[in-house]
């Protein structure tokens, strides 16, 4: 009897490990997808900024992006390097696995 119970406990432990592995595999897949989508959304914002008037390239935060419910926000941070050059960073953030993930793109926009 005791041997059988030990065997069952061992088998149950093995199953628990397998279930955890499965969870890791599933999350790894969605990690990749969210990263890819966030990267393109960050690029979308950069292209928008490059297409804007130089004076309207300013820091801003979008608290949500329509059609992409997993995104927490998209943050544009602008700092002036000199009067004709701005350092622009776009960050897209989302929550996954209990923590906040983000992707950042950075470029310079000149007033030419």
């Amino acid at each position: 009897m005791i041997e059988l119970l030990i065997a069952i406990v061992l088998a149950a432990s093995g199953l628990m490990v397998l279930m955890q592995l499965m969870g890791v595999a599933i999350f790894a897949d969605s990690d990749l997808e969210y990263s890819l989508t966030a990267l393109n959304l960050a690029n979308e914002k950069l292209e928008d900024l490059k297409d804007s008037d130089y004076s309207s390239v300013t820091s801003a935060t979008e608290s949500s992006i329509s059609g992409f419910p997993f995104v927490d926000d998209r943050v544009v941070t602008v700092s002036e390097v000199n009067t004709d050059l701005k350092d622009v960073q776009v960050a897209v953030r989302w929550t996954q696995k209990g923590g906040q993930q983000s992707i950042q793109l950075r470029t310079y926009i000149a007033d030419y």
Partner: protein, 184 residues
């Protein structure tokens, strides 16, 4: 007498209640294992489909973005004023059209009545977009909100919005970005 009692003790079998408990535990374990197996299979299937969509969509996005960034000066327009088409020229003077095509859609115009469309690239005048000629870029595009028309390619005055929503089985992957052609 003592020896016979000892033999009886060491060789005793399982009681019915012990067997039932063990069988119940085993049944529960097998139930959990079966559930995990089924869930794993579904997750694997879903992962394979989504992985395929991601790969195809990334390829299409990269191809279209590269083409548009490298197009010739001020050559961006719609093809025959049809929505969700993009016409442009490369530096060699070749004219290309990106367009949505579904063989079941008999009218090649801004009305997109079918559920699914494929994204094609035609080199005109050799390829005829109305007949689905050219190079296939991306299959199984659907509308973002699930209703026609598709909204894969949208041109503003200086930008092209690429909003690729691909559905295969029950899996939907959406990737969106914008391109500002460098030579516009």
């Amino acid at each position: 007498m003592e020896a016979r009692d000892k033999t009886r003790f060491t060789n005793r079998g399982f009681t019915l209640i012990e067997m039932i408990i063990v069988l119940l535990l085993l049944a529960m374990l097998l139930g959990v294992a079966g559930f995990v197996f089924v869930v794993s299979l579904r997750a694997w299937d879903s992962g394979c489909i989504r992985g395929g969509i991601r790969e195809d969509t990334s390829y299409a996005m990269e191809k279209v973005v590269r083409d548009l960034k490298e197009m010739a000066l001020r050559s961006l327009s719609q093809y025959s004023s049809i929505a969700h088409t993009v016409q442009y020229k490369d530096f060699a003077g070749n004219t290309y059209v990106l367009y949505l095509y579904n063989a079941d859609d008999s009218s090649f115009d801004s009305t997109y009545g079918e559920s699914f469309y494929d994204l094609w690239k035609a080199n005109i005048p050799g390829d005829d977009p109305a007949s689905g000629e050219g190079t296939l870029i991306l299959r199984d595009l659907v509308s973002p909100d699930g209703t026609a028309p598709a909204t894969a390619l949208t041109i503003s005055s200086t930008q092209v919005t690429l909003d690729f929503v691909v559905q295969r089985s029950d899996e939907i992957v959406r990737i969106r970005t914008k391109v500002r052609p460098r030579n516009l």
